[in-house]
Amino acid sequence: MSVKRLSRWLVFLFLMVSAPVYAVPEIQHWVSPQGGRVYFVPTEGLPLLDVQVVFDAGSARDGEQFGLAALTSGMLDTGAGDWDADAIAQRLENIGASLSTGVSRDSAWLSLRSLTHPEKLAVALETAREILSRPRFDKNDFEREKNRTLLGIKQRGEDPGELVEIAFFQALYGNHPYAHPQEGFAETVAPLTREDLVDFHKRYYVASNAIVVIVGEAKRAEAETIAEKLLSGLQKGAAPAVLSAPAPLQSTEIIKQHFPSEQTHVRAGVLGMTATDPDYFPLYVGNHVLGGSGLVSRISKEVREKRGLSYSAYSYFMPLRELGPFQMGLQTRNDQAEEALRVALDAIRNFAANGPTEEELEAAKKNILGGFVLRLDSNRKLAQQVAIIALYNRPLDYLATFTEKVKAVTREDIKRAFRTRIDPGKIRTVLVGGGAK
């Protein structure tokens, strides 16, 4: 595609805080014979199927070996069962299927998209099953992928936007498993061995720790067979232990990293909310006003529209299994960093103290409710939404009740929720750039 830039502002798609619909699709749920949880939404109109297999095997499970979960996931399709990487790629690409794997802090996943043509789908599923259950972690592949990871980590050092994100999570989480970047650091990736990956896979890629999401043109019986087939090679295993909660922040802190860039990247925030937080809706709707709705949000208005200080300025909650961050972000010419940070923090403090106006709340609800249908208007978006519901054990009627819950949020709810979550005395701020001297 030749679009050079989506230019007006960065489009922030925070799927974790967004949610879904109108004629709301019903999620069917069952447990496979192997003990994996299955979530299925049949759709009509296109002969395609989106499948996601999700494990609680994200970077929060790295232990001291930061980067282990990511490297394990990244190596799955480089060799499995009887096939090497070329054979796997050819099998899938011969039938037009696409497969990818990835990790977040809370999860590792495999995504498969295939046509529903029975022979093609069978090949796609068989390949995915082998990748999940019989990865080879071949020695040569391992060395190569590790080296590529190390180069990726090195390259990240060119980008102040990435460095600020890493520093912000460290400032917020200290020793908690959410603190480090998914890819790890050079010092933690270099000592990893093939055996570490084998052990990690054995421990976490098990049926009791698996979620299968199926969205597309299929009948219930077919979906049952698909889930069973995908999980058939896995050990039953056990779900991992519960993560600890991050330590509460006690004070403000400013961290500065000098970087030879023209802009200074700024992040500021606190520990925010969990994915099943009782204050989820007041915080979500409230942040929509504060920094979550693009150019019409308060932070963007103050920083960009009124003063022209930054191309993007925003805030969001990233709900995770344990407390995820609330964070504000912007980037600006080095000599303006102080001013931009002050303007944004003023907007946050003001909002935390006073909440939204009645008009703002009304506008936010109109936007969220009117746009609800756009969150589920493709198979791909639907599959992502369902995967988040499944991963965090949200209620199955989450989509169906979303609208009512948004409508019910009041100014008082938002004020109370923001006051308890965003204590101005605990904000962590990170600056990376030429202005952070």
């Binding site: 595609m1 030749s2 679009v3 050079k4 830039r5 230019s7 007006r8 489009v11 109108y22 109109g45 296109l46 399709d77 990487a85 790629a89 899938l92 690409e93 039938i95 037009g96 299927a97 696409s98 998209r113 046509l115 043509h117 190569r144 080296n147 190390l150 180069l151 090195k154 390259q155 060119e158 980008d159 403000t252 400013i254 500065k256 990293q257 000098h258 030879p260 802009q263 500021a268 019409v296 009124k306 022209g308 191309y311 993007s312 980037q331 600006t332 102080e338 940070l341 923090l345 109109k366 936007n367 969220i368 409710l369 009117g370 746009g371 249908v373 756009l374 493709s378 791909r380 202005g435």
Partner: protein, 460 residues
């Protein structure tokens, strides 16, 4: 490689699917505005896009970046809707909106619940001819665009290197200029410049409106007549040809920038579908060549250079057949640990030579075609992408029907044709090569707290 087809081949997929091929309804208003409507009833939503035939390649020295700057200013209000109102109204209606500028077009879009389409049309029609360009709003937005440039280009070694690469690869084609514009040009733009550009290009007879979604085409047509119908057409300027002059030998450049990793970009001048004339199979053969090199994990660059020889940590190839002017067939990559830029370039050249000397194996060719077919179905999962295809092909002058030919044309490509285009276009006289040789970067040391320019009161 992006697969762009919208047409199915009967032999591979069931007949029912071909029958389900969505129709495109084409209308033209008396004032010259073109309207394309495609129904998609899977969800009660609609995508509405307005495409203008103007972009960075319409610009000339001194005013580069003006199309993109105007795109930013298009949200700054009309008499009816003051600054900020456009976004506020779309938000209140639950919509998403944005805009983008490319070399060949500027486009504005909203995605909405289907009953809100009139809101989009009303606002877009209003700003098509009634924009107010004020000094006050412009001064702020100019700063925002300069921040955007710092973010996307100036502080990104690879983006900056690619910008310089384009400037060297082309002699006089307007593709030598970045879409966002050169820094001095962006800083030097005035409200007067923008008023002129707006008056020149933003007119119904220079626009295509594309609507995809849960709609009735006749109703959309009536709605378009109501909102866009009253707008006056312009006398559009004749576009000068500005064809790239002949290149007389390979061009090489070295860019020194603070960076962590070296990087290689190579580009061969190739015609686009539009500049190719009758021999349009060549464009599809180049598209297939890009697929052979970089059509997934089984393609040659991944399997032979990243995995096999392990000379590249990453490698890619691309060709854009839907550009307005002739473009580049590009190769780019990062050397693997311990490998040099020279070694990577040599490996790329070997892959090019292989395309020239050996016909592509049947299995490889079939794999590229199988992916084209599957992606054709997958693309229909996204209304937005479908609308983009219609708008883009129409705006670059090919006409939307071109995308309906894509799958058949790709399917018709033979191994011999791939070999022929490789021999014809992948030659030194069309080649430009750029190396990014990193200068050392100061390590990101934590600055001592005392020297901080920040007062404690800001972060209490």
């Amino acid at each position: 490689m992006q697969f762009r087809g919208l047409r199915l081949a009967l032999l591979v997929l069931p007949l029912s699917l071909h029958a389900a091929e969505p129709a495109v309804h084409e209308f033209r208003l008396d004032n010259g505005l073109k309207l394309l409507v495609q129904e998609d009833h899977r969800a009660p939503a609609v995508v509405s896009q307005v495409w203008y035939k103007v972009g960075a390649s319409y610009e000339y020295g001194g005013i580069t970046g003006i199309s993109h700057m105007l795109e930013h200013m298009m949200f700054k209000g009309t008499e009816k809707h003051p600054p900020g109102e456009f976004s506020r109204i779309i938000a209140a209606n639950g919509g998403r909106e944005n805009a983008f500028t490319g070399q060949d077009y500027t486009a504005y879009f909203q995605t909405l619940e289907k009953s809100r389409l009139p809101v989009s049309f009303e606002l877009e029609a209003d700003r098509m001819r009634n924009l107010i360009l004020s000094d006050k709003e412009f001064e702020k937005e100019q700063q925002v665009v300069l921040e955007e440039r710092r973010l996307r280009t100036d502080d990104q070694p690879r983006a900056k290197m690619e910008e310089h690469f384009q400037a060297v690869a082309y002699t006089n084609s307007p593709y030598k200029n970045p879409v966002i514009g050169w820094p001095d040009d962006v800083s030097g733009l005035t409200v007067g410049d923008l008023k002129y550009w707006y008056g020149l290009w933003y007119a119904p007879n220079n626009a295509t409106v594309v609507v995809v979604g849960d709609v009735d085409p006749q109703e959309v047509y009536a709605l378009a007549r109501k909102h866009f119908g009253p707008l006056k057409p312009s006398h559009l300027p004749e576009i000068k040809p500005r064809g790239e002059v002949e290149q007389l030998g390979a061009r090489r450049m070295i860019v020194h920038l603070p960076a962590k990793l070296p990087y290689l970009v190579m580009g061969y001048k190739t015609p686009a579908l539009r500049t190719m004339g009758e021999e349009d199979w060549e464009a599809y053969a180049l598209e297939v060549a890009a697929g052979i090199l970089d059509g997934g994990n089984s393609a040659r660059l991944a399997s032979r250079l990243v995995r096999g020889k392990q000379v590249a940590a990453s490698a890619g190839a691309g060709y854009n057949l839907y550009s307005r002017l002739s473009n580049l067939f590009s190769l780019e990559g990062t050397p693997a640990q311990g490998k040099t830029l020279q070694a990577l370039e040599k490996a790329f050249v070997e892959e090019i030579r292989r395309l020239q000397e050996e016909p592509v194996a049947a299995a490889e060719l079939d794999r590229v075609k199988a992916q084209v077919l599957a992606h054709h179905v997958y693309e229909r999962d996204s209304m937005f992408y479908q609308a983009m295809q219609l708008g883009m092909t129409e705006t670059v002058g090919l006409g939307w029907k071109t995308i309906r030919e894509y799958v058949d044309k790709v399917n018709a490509v033979t191994a011999e044709q791939v070999q022929k285009v490789a021999q014809k276009y992948f030659v030194d006289d069309y080649l430009s090569v750029a190396y990014l040789e990193p200068l050392p970067m100061p390590e990101g040391a934590k600055a001592p707290e005392e020297s901080a320019p920040m007062g404690g009161e800001h972060v209490r």
